[in-house]
Structures are given as structure tokens and as C-alpha cells.
Symmetry: C2
Subunit: 627 residues, 2 copies
Amino acid sequence: MSRNIYIDNVDQELAQNMYYEKLNISPEYDVVKSIDSLDRISYEAVYAKVSSPNYNAAAMDGIAVRSDNTLEATDVSPLTLVEGKDFIYINTGNIIKDPYDAVIMIEDVIEIDEGKVQILKSAHPWQHIRQIGEDIVATEMIIPSGHKIRPIDIGALISGGVEDIKIYKKPRIGIIPTGTEIIEDFKELEEGKIMDSNSRVFQNIVLKLGGIPKRYAPVDDDYELLKISILDAVKDNDIILIIAGSSAGTKDYTVNLIKELGQVIVHGVAMKPGKPTILGLIDNKPVIGIPGYPVSAFLVFDKFVKPLIHKYLGIKEDEKEVVDAYISRRIVSSLKNREFVRVNLGYVNHKLIATPLSSGAGVTMSLVKADGIGIIPQNIEGVEAGDMVKVELLRPLANIKNTLVSIGSHDLIMDILADMMDLSSGHLGSMGGIMAMRRGECHISPIHLLNGENGTYNIDYVKKYFPGNKMALIKGVKRLQGFIVEKGNPFNIRDFKDLSREEIIYINRQRGAGTRILLDYHLKKEGIDPLNIRGYTREMNTHMAVATGVKTGSANVGLGIYSAAKALDLDFIEVAYEEYDFLVNQDFLEDSKIKEFINVLRSEEFKERIKSLGGYKLKNTGDIILI
Amino acid sequence: MSRNIYIDNVDQELAQNMYYEKLNISPEYDVVKSIDSLDRISYEAVYAKVSSPNYNAAAMDGIAVRSDNTLEATDVSPLTLVEGKDFIYINTGNIIKDPYDAVIMIEDVIEIDEGKVQILKSAHPWQHIRQIGEDIVATEMIIPSGHKIRPIDIGALISGGVEDIKIYKKPRIGIIPTGTEIIEDFKELEEGKIMDSNSRVFQNIVLKLGGIPKRYAPVDDDYELLKISILDAVKDNDIILIIAGSSAGTKDYTVNLIKELGQVIVHGVAMKPGKPTILGLIDNKPVIGIPGYPVSAFLVFDKFVKPLIHKYLGIKEDEKEVVDAYISRRIVSSLKNREFVRVNLGYVNHKLIATPLSSGAGVTMSLVKADGIGIIPQNIEGVEAGDMVKVELLRPLANIKNTLVSIGSHDLIMDILADMMDLSSGHLGSMGGIMAMRRGECHISPIHLLNGENGTYNIDYVKKYFPGNKMALIKGVKRLQGFIVEKGNPFNIRDFKDLSREEIIYINRQRGAGTRILLDYHLKKEGIDPLNIRGYTREMNTHMAVATGVKTGSANVGLGIYSAAKALDLDFIEVAYEEYDFLVNQDFLEDSKIKEFINVLRSEEFKERIKSLGGYKLKNTGDIILI
């Protein structure tokens, strides 16, 4: 069993520079028709071959005259002109030629007889005439080199008489997914198998960047098979990507294969995620080993492959938009690495707030949901809440500005709301939502907080945590909480006392979650010591995570909502209906996003979709309580 | 001869609302494979069908163990485990199944013998295991409806077991160019003919928006021919666009044809450019008459056609980014219309400055060069310099921020510089540049200003207009000024005295242009009265415009640079070499854009390209003079 346990930790820029020094990329060009050049990159500056218009053209409907022949016309002594001798009728776009040098608008022409008109005003030379070259002058530069051709550019190229243009040739990118557990056919998806998704993501990014992707079928973890695949891909492509197997495990063959067939320039980059990256060369072509976790794969592609493709396409700079945003939570990072943090962004109180999405490099959905990638530089130990960080945008800022930001308790209705309007939803539990609202990080906070003293929900917490502030609650739903248990309830769980039975493993929600507060309220009421509950300390952030824990057998029971149990086909023991409402500052009530939110809550469509979930009651939904 | 002289003046939003009320658009869907869904729009929310991973998977290379079997392991008393009985070797991604419930990293495993290892620490249940659904939980919403599918979304769809998805069906857009002078074959481009460019621009915008364009060959201005074309297009498309002929001229048949075949809802919109717009209906399909001037056509498409295509595609909002910018010049507009002004944008002194591009609706190049479209609302008489206006971006803000903004004198070398770096170049003459620099609207100002008293260039003007400021001149080129005359110099022009000859028509530059100052200096020196020069009051903004005036015979002579005469194959009579330099504030000298600019000026490539133009001398180019 051979392992390459040690990999390097080279700075990202240094790794890039080391690599580019070894590469010898000489972009080539193709010639295409201008009309087919959309989104291609100009290989050289393009100059107009003809002027547009290429003749003096009437800019109005009317008559063409000789200006020096009209000098005597005045209001008091109209001048009579004879068709064919003194003028001709013309329409916009007609040629104006000798002897005519001016156009009089038809509105200023008095038709007095067949072939005879009168005018009341003389004409300036060249009036109402589009002169040769008004739009484009022959020899004028239409587009510079390295320019991505837009529809309007195509119009200008055609007007400038440019029939064909030189554009950068598209590079061919070979993409090899690897891993014995990786499959590409949905029919083969069984336990222990994983659908190949990274290569499909890369294939489509390459398309969007303007390259030609060539994706190969997944290759088993087999040194010889992989070698054949790589050699094949090197023959047919300009850049070769090998997905997974880039680290130093038993079956991570990539680094040794590149060493055998060519040269490894860098193995291991000081970035997180993305550390086990291999930058290699075979036959002078870049061959890059990319880690298999989706988030790592995406970032390594972005940092190392995209700039390479840009080089082939003559694109000098990344179009990526980077913004400054206030980070909403402390992030601890290692001095050794530059860290990339998926964040949601929201405009709240005229400040751009970045909220980190806390999940591992394996979570594709965190990238799907992210608005941007925050960058924590190397050589610092992290950032404090409120610090400014650089964020690379994944969505246009205009969309982000139009998005309602919710931070608080998790519920499946948040998905439905997000489908019905622009809503970004962060799940930190009810108390997490209240704290985020206090820090001004969100527009609304979904909360369900029971006051154990009087059995009321939410209002007392708002009064306590926002003294002196004008707040409001937008009434949401009444939702059913209960025990999520395995199908058939094999452990016969009935009430809170059952949780402390020795054979039962519980799965808990995090501190600050409304569901956790509900649990603790009942435990206290019934005098149950939390320390007697196995699994009490294992904390999950969402109802679905709790349900999944039960589903996979890592726990027998968790407290959660009906819809989560139903979604995973688990059984459910009712505990109580609770009030799940939306906290908002009264100042925001007039905001168009909040108004839309309330309209959505009150809509028939929302009500119908909620009913189909089960486990909810709608009462006063969309009403506003001022506090 | 029948004319529809009067057209309406309906507010833009009102026109849209009137039109949408009559339209009955019901978007349809197609089903495609998820892997082929890039850039399509989801027709409904998409939920995961399976969890990912769909099994408990090792997250590390190492050994799988039963956690309750490891409790006794400590640093001082290592625990020995036997392969097959207590543990199995696993790699990242392998299935972890009963009885195993934890993974120990290979780095923490001491291999003591074949099939025997020791550990020094107990394992928590589920440590280093990616649990079922860690990435995606079955039933979780992956993307909402109306979402434009990105590469990463495709990855998540595949991981969630979603093989096919419903996407909005692409609408078919029929595009009919009209006009007897309009041709589509470059070979037919002769005097009086104009290449059809609008339909090609539309075709490509439709492609980018996600529709299916169907472009027809240009149709002559003939009522019956046009009728056949329209009926044909209505049969095969969802939306029909008729380019040109939308106004009220003799040959503007569109409005009458739509009336005959269907219904005209609006003819004439209160926007400029774009007024002669027709919003009509035939067979319940939108048929839109679009004015033929390229800028009008582009804007009418943007305001009326794009939102329609979005409706078919289920896109709720325009992704267009709108920014606030300070307008650099007064713009007078009519109370009657909303006006759209093409602008260049620049970040100067941390302020976003919009400089209007002053040219007519026929000038495609003004759109090619524009960074955005400024909006002057209806019901105001214009805006003053320094006012804030809304600007719809045509280029990403990130690019605009990286662009060096030049305002000042025009020279062909500005094209070459713009090809070699990100440079936006506005042409207001040397004095216009100095004024723009004083107002903080640009980074550099190209100037060539002769002090008639002592024969020096530029420095005295900088001292005069920037007293107390630390300014600098970056030395540019010495360029040859002279008389641009018709080929063969038929009027035998030799010196300034010839300009006042009775038969000579001069074509002038605008006040404030260095070339104008040069002319006036020589006229004064030689005692020539400007009023004796015919054409002295006809002012052009660029050298190429002057040369074009001579080329087209509307003037016999103009003062200008050699390269402009050469570009249009005209003759040239030398007058003087002058110093064309770049004014900059000393504070900017450390700016990376200015540094790049200086590097470009000093580069061999620049020198070679300048030499090939002719009429320039390079001396001290790129040197910096502090003032």
C-alpha cells in the first residue's frame, strides 16, 4: 500500500506564477463571418472597411434642393420651386447628389400644384442630410483586440463593411472524472454510487467561458486505465482536467501518473477548500488534478483553470465583480491558507452584509445558494463579526439588492416563499435570528419562541430583546411540532419521558433554535435531566438534518416539524402547534420587498402550497402586529 | 401620395401597459435533460429526488471502526484492532455500513503488523463520515421556478437525482428588415445601398436572451410584398418585429398594414430616440414596428421587445444594472419625452461620472462605445452638469472601474492606446479636456495648446488653469498638422492666406480644440479676418469629421492631422509639428491605470504602431514633467 502522505502548501499566486512560467501558451485564431461572431473574442483590432452611410442620404422625408437656389424664400415672399428643375421628392434614406445639397422637410413644403411647391425659408447647405461616414468612417477602429463581441458590435462590423473577422480559437478542454464509485447513468444510482456531477459542472462552465469541453466517461480507480485515459485526452485537447484522486490517498494515482508521463509543478496549494491541487504538464500541455469535493472542485477550477482558458482566448482580465461587505459572523481561519467562504449577501440598512454559509466542501447546495465567495486572506487568524471582507459575486449585485434577507428559524415554508419571490434564507434558529436582527443583518427573522411562563409565543421575546425599538410581527403559520421517529415507531416513543430511556438515541437542535427551547421547556416542566438523554449534545441546524439523522439510523428520535418527517417518509408523534411568525422593524414595513412578502403570504397560491405540505394551520397569516 | 403625418406621444409605461393588457401570453414548457439545461429557465421549482450522498460515506482515507469498540484507547494504553474483526481499511467515498459507525484517519493509525493496527484515541460515533444527505436531502428544493440555470445548478440537479426538468419553451421571434435601399450581401454594397445591420443585432440579442430568432431577407418598400412577409412571419413566430417604415412617411407602410391585418394599439411613444414605435397585434400575436435608425432600434427593442421575450421565458425582472452617476454636461431635453442618452462612465476621484456621447440616432458607434444609457425623465427640461442621473449599464461596473478615462483632444493614437489597454476616450478638444480635468471628470486629458506668445506647448496653459495644483504632463507625440485637401490639391492651397479665397470652402474645428487655436493663431499673425473664410462657422468635433467633409466635397480644405488625411486617401500640406501630451494630476501618478498607460506609451509595440500611421515623431514619449 503506497501513500504520498505529504503534499506541499504553496501560496495560490506563487503556484500560478510557477505554473505559468512553465507553460508556453500561444493562442491561435480562426476566421468567422462577422454575423456569426457573437461572444467570440477579437484577435486583433478591427477597422471599418467602408463608411456608413457610404453616400449622402436624406435624413427626412421631403424635397432635395440646391441651397443657393433657396436664398430668396421668406415668410412674406414664398419661393416657388419646380419639380425636376429646382427640386425632387425624396424619402428618408434616398441618395442626395449633385446638384442638390439640402433637404427641406415635407412639413415645411406647401404643395401648390402638380409639380410645383412653395417654401417660406431658405435651406442651409447640407441640412437634413446624413453625410457619408456619419455613423462610421472608413479606417475607424470599430472594436479593439481582445473584445468579447456583443450584438451591437456585430451591427457596427456589418455597417463598417467587415464581412469576416479574426477571433481567438476556442481551446479544447478534456475533462476526466475518476473514482470507482462514480457513475454517469441515473439508472445505476444505488447505495455506494455517486453521480458524476463535477464534470458536468466543468463542461458547462467551459461552454460559458467560450471553450470546447470534451467530457470523458468516469474512469475507475485503476492506474493503468487512468493512464490510457490521460494519454488519450492529452492527444485531443489543449487543457486536461482530472477530477478527484488528486490528494495523497491509496488510490490517488493522479500525481504519480503525471510524474510518470510528464512533470508535476505544484502539488498542494495554500487554499481552503482546494488544497490537494496538482498543476502538471504532459507534452507541454497543462494537466490539472482537481479535488473531488464539489466546492473544492469549483474553486480550484475558478482559480487555476479559468485563467488558463482566458489566456487561450486572449481575455486579459476576469470580469468577476468583487465587492466589500461586512461579515456577520466571526470566522476562524488558519494562518497557513487563504480561505474561501461561501456567503449570502443582503442589502440591509444600506449596508452590504455577508453571512457565511456554514457547511463543508462536499455541499454543492451551499454553492447553489451562495451569493458570493468571501476571501479570508492568508496569514491572518480569521475575521471578527463586523469586519469588512472582499466578496467575489456569484449573482449580479442588482439581484442581491432586490432580495429580501431572512435570518432565523428554519422551516420548509421558507423554500416555498423563496420560490414565490426573491428571498434569501439563512438558518440560525429563532434566537440566532433575533441576534441577527439586532445587528441589522436581515430584513426579517422567522421565529417561534415560547414563553414558558404564560404559554405565549414571540411577542415577549421581541419586547425583551428590542426595548425602545418599534418592531412588528408579521403573522406566519401555526405549525405542528412533534417527535420524528423511524417508520412504525419501533421504539414506541410517546412523550418526553421516553427520551431518557437508556436505549434511545436523541438528535438535538442547536442552542437558540425555537425547537430546542421547546424541548428544554418540556424537559424542565417534567423534571427530566438533559444529561440523561443520549445524543442531547449532538446539535443539528435544520429540521431536515434531524429527520435525516433518524432516517439514516444514527438516532431514533428528534423533535421537529411534521413536514420534515413527511418529506423523508418517517413517522411523527404530535406534541404541539406553535406560532411561526416573522419579526421585522416597523421602519421596513413600507419597503417594497416587505410589501411583496406580505402579499405572497396572503396569496391563495401560498395557502394552497402550505396545505399540501401538511402539519400547518393558517390563521391571521399576513396580519401585522405592532410592538 | 398618402402620409400619416400625425403619430401619438404615449408615455413609455402607459404604452407598455396598454399593450400588455391586450396581449395574452401564456408561456409553455419543454422538458430537457438536466445536463443540457444550461441557461434555460426553470418552469417550476425543482426538488431533489434522492439524497446525496445516498449512503454513509467515508470522508477520509483510513479505517472504519465501531466507535463503542474504541473507548479504551488512550495515549498511554494504545488499543490494538484486528482487520476484518475490529476494522476495515477504507478510502474517501467508501460505504460505511453496520457494524461500523466511525472512521479514523490513516494519519492516526499505527500499523504494527499485517492486519493489525493500534490507535491512541477513541472515535466518536459518526466521526469522518459524510452522512446520507449531507449535500442534498431528498425533497429539498434545489432551484426555484423562473431560475436561469447555471453550471453549478446542473451539478446539484444531477446530485439530487433529477434527470429531466421542465424549462420555459423558447419563444420564436420573426425579424423582418425593410427598405428598398437595404441589402444583406456585402457584394451589393454600392452607393445608395445600406447593409442590413439592425436585424443582425436583434437576431443576436434574441439569442442571448434565450429566444429563437428567425431573420427574414430585407423586404422592399412595397405594400403588397411587405404584407406577404408579415403574414408569413405571423404564421411561424410568437413575436414579429418589422424594422424601419414605422413612422409616417410616404413609404412607411407598417402602420397601415398592421391596421389592415390586425390592430394597432400604440403608434408613437414619448421617448427619444424611439418615438415612431408601433405596438400592434395580428392573430393575437405581438407585431412591433421599430424605427430604422440603429440607436432608436436598439432602444425600442430594449424597452418593448426584451420585456415581451422575458414574459415568454418566465423571467420576472430585468437583470439590467442601474447606477447613479454625476452627469458631466448640461443636457437640454423636451418636457414631452423621456430621453435616453448614451454615456461613457468613469470612476474618477471615487465618483462615477457620466459623460454624454453627443451624436444622432443614426450613429451605431456611439452605442458600441457607450458604457451605459442615461435616463432623462419626462416632464423635466433637462439636467445640469453635476446632477445625478440614473444610468443603465452596458458594461460591467468592474470593467468600468478598471478603465482609464481620457477627455480632451482627438487623435488617432487614442484608438491605438484603447486597443492596448482599457481606455475610454472622449473628444471635446484640448480646452474641453482642461475643463473636464478641472471638474474632476477624467484621469488624463490629451492636449496640444500653443502659446502664441512664446511658441511653447501646453505647460503655460496648465499653469494658468491649475494654479496651486500639482499637475504633471506625460509627454506624448509630436504630430504633424496641416491642410487636408482633396486628392491632387485641385484648389492649389499652400498657406493660410488661401483660406480666404472666395472659391474656397473651409471646414473648421470646434472652439476649444487645439487645432482651432492653431488656426486662429495663424490667422491673427497673418492679419486674416475669420469672417472672410467661408465655412469658418461650420464646426466639427474630430479630425476624421473634417477629413470626411473634404472627402465628400462639402468643403475643400480643413486644418487637421496627417493621419486623418492619409486614412481617407486625401492630400496633405504640412503646417507644423505640435506637441500632443497628456495632462494628469500628480496624485494619480501612482494609480495602476496611469502606470499601465505610461508603460504602453513607452512600449516598442506602441512605437511601431505609431510609425506605421505616419505624421508623428516620438521624442521623450512617456516622460513625466511635474508642474
